[in-house]
């Protein structure tokens, strides 16, 4: 039974990780807290829903298309709106700006898709995998795999590619990077694009596993907050660790204390973590924490 709970927690944690990594990247590199992150996640979910309903496209096949679309959206979002806000106002004010966008996106989703919940259910949505005593739904396993593969790819990109190096350099020392010939605006927009692409991917994975509706955007933004604070800002590894811990804490609390308490425990952990180690478990001091 404990094994089952642990596995359930890890699978859930995979979703949390993927849904938070984009938020973490934007926070770490630009210092921008994106309160419309959850709304971006939902856009991914709704895109997967539309492609599945209208074209019969499997969500996992739609994933690259959605990520590409979301990348462009995120790039444009940074170059137009966020850049303007951070230049003219403060980083904290940009938080309010993104809150405004979250409201708009949520309202737009209600108008386009109605407030009803939607779910993406390909034929394999009801199948499961069993390992001895432990049974896990197939879509959940798929979601976990997607998370791990994408997070690994992102980590590799940041670590080994030249784009990744410039992003990391910019995060550490914006001015020095600019002096070395890095086009800061472009790097910021790239980061924002990556962040949105991963939010979209998370939306697809979430859509595969559970029904969703427009008000859920708050939930995914808040979850991203908690994951990032736990794991540490700006790194895929931090998001992975934070997400997995959160997932396990979630299912364990539900099992041991009561099904109503995972959220309370989650936020308690967030506050405790901030007090004990504000940089997160794997955190280094990126822009947001200075």
């Amino acid at each position: 039974m404990t094994m089952q709970t642990l596995v359930d927690g890890l699978v859930l944690g995979g979703l949390f990780s993927l849904s938070a990594v984009g938020f973490s990247l934007l926070f770490g590199v630009l210092g921008v807290v994106n309160l419309s992150h959850g709304a971006f996640v939902l856009i991914g979910g709704y895109a997967a829903y539309t492609l599945h309903e209208k074209l019969g496209l499997d969500p996992l096949l739609a994933l690259p298309v959605i990520m590409l679309g979301m990348f462009c959206l995120g790039y444009a979002f940074q170059r137009s709106v966020i850049q303007w806000a951070t230049k003219r106002a403060s980083l904290l004010a940009s938080m309010l700006l993104t809150y405004g966008f979250a409201l708009m996106i949520r309202n737009a989703l209600v108008l386009i898709y109605s407030p009803d919940f939607k779910s993406v259910t390909p034929a394999y949505a009801f199948d499961s995998l069993s390992f001895g005593e432990v049974t896990v739904g197939l879509t959940r396993v798929a979601a976990l795999l997607v998370s791990i593969v994408l997070l690994a790819a992102l980590a590799a990109t940041l670590r080994y590619s030249s784009i990744g190096r410039t992003i990391r350099a910019t995060a550490q020392q914006e001015q020095a990077a600019a002096l070395c010939g890095v086009n800061i605006r472009h790097v910021f927009a790239l980061t924002s694009g990556l962040s949105a692409a991963f939010a979209g991917a998370a939306g697809v994975a979430i859509g595969l596993v559970m029904p969703f509706s427009p008000p859920d955007e708050t939930l995914w933004t808040v979850n991203a907050f908690v994951v990032v604070t736990l794991g540490g800002i700006g790194s895929p590894a931090g998001a992975l660790v934070g997400g997995l811990i959160l997932g396990v804490v979630n299912t364990m609390t539900a099992q041991l204390i009561g099904a109503a308490f995972p959220n309370a425990m989650m936020f308690l952990l967030l506050v405790l973590m901030l007090v004990v180690r504000p940089a997160g478990l794997l955190g280094n001091s990126f822009k947001g924490s200075r």
Partner: protein, 329 residues
């Protein structure tokens, strides 16, 4: 203790506040009940925003979780009233209000020590977390009745219309909050907080006791917010956790300050007035896109007027001065 406030401008502000409050107190005579209810929303918003400003505006520590104090205040009061069944409404309310304020002050004191060591966005996130924890606990612990909801006692005197009574009650509380904020602003504490906002490390080096100052402002802010929460809850008459732990309380107080002018006292009041009018009156009839327009307004506000209306006024004043100087030359 030394003079609580010093300087002529403080007394001017106090006089203006009292005169303004008196003027507002007379308004219900000229307003429809609906107008009075919109007035309630405005006074509530202004009170909450100024209470937030005591910490957020003066010291630059933006709390994204003041709903914690609204909600905890409301539920402490409601549960205490439940525990005092035989009491007269006025008596029970007084005890409940005082207890709610005291308990929130205590809560703030307890969390202040660890949380106020965090800076900037980390403090903001931590407060968001605190408000979520309070919400989750109140709604999930059966004894606190957050899910089932709880009735508050009726404290409206027989021959007073309830919307007027609560308008005046909220106005009284908001006035008290503004006066306290003015006192804080012009006291040694206030100057210390401003110094912290400009540069906390330098302030500490120059001998400002930063930690006690921040904690004091936090506790004051929490108690004042709780006071508003208690009256708001009585106005509703029945609350569940969802009625008082609202995200709007967390974020709108900041919006008001941003709109009006961050760090000032008049700023959040003006901001609250404008936002209440726009969202409740102008957008009240819009069935399905009022949320979209609110979001759009927020975005435009941050982009077009990052220093708020006060900032526009300030630029305008400076320009006028410069023009005068140039004309005189």
């Amino acid at each position: 203790m030394k003079l609580f406030v010093s300087g002529r401008s403080a007394w001017v502000s106090i006089a203006i506040t009292l005169a303004g409050a008196l003027l507002f107190a007379l308004l219900p005579a000229f307003l429809s009940p609906y107008g009075v209810r919109v007035g309630q929303l405005f006074v509530l918003a202004a009170g909450l925003a100024v209470a937030w400003t005591v910490l957020g505006g003066f010291s630059g520590y933006w709390s994204f979780g003041n709903a914690a104090f609204v909600g905890t205040g409301a539920f402490v009061a409601a549960l205490i009233e439940l525990a005092l069944p035989g009491w007269s409404p006025a008596g029970a309310f007084t005890v409940a209000l005082l207890a709610a304020m005291l308990l929130n002050g205590l809560l703030a004191l307890v969390i202040a020590w660890p949380i106020l060591r965090l800076r900037g966005i980390y403090f903001a996130i931590a407060m968001l977390g605190v408000s979520q924890v309070c919400y989750e606990l109140v709604s999930n612990i059966d004894a606190l009745r957050g899910a089932l909801g709880v009735n508050l006692i009726d404290i409206v005197p027989k021959d007073v219309r309830p919307e007027r009574f609560y308008y005046w009650a909220l106005l009284l509380a908001a006035t008290a909050i503004i006066l306290i904020a003015i006192c804080v602003r012009h006291s040694k504490l206030g100057y210390g907080l401003l110094a912290i906002r400009e540069d906390e490390d330098t302030a500490r080096m120059l001998g400002v006791p930063t930690a006690p100052y921040k904690i004091s402002a936090f506790v004051i802010s929490a108690m004042l917010t709780a006071m508003m929460g208690v009256i708001y809850a009585h106005n509703l008459g029945y609350i569940t956790a969802n009625s008082v732990f609202r995200n709007e309380f967390n974020l709108n107080v900041i919006v008001y300050s941003l709109l009006g002018g961050m760090g000032t006292i008049i700023g959040p009041i003006v901001g609250a007035g404008v936002m209440t009018y726009v969202t409740q009156v102008l957008l009240g009839d819009l069935l399905d896109i009022h949320m979209f327009i609110t979001g759009l307004l927020l975005a435009i506000l941050v982009l077009a007027a990052p220093n708020g209306l006060y900032g526009i006024y300030d630029t305008y004043r400076l320009r006028l001065k410069r023009q005068k100087r140039e004309a005189g030359r």
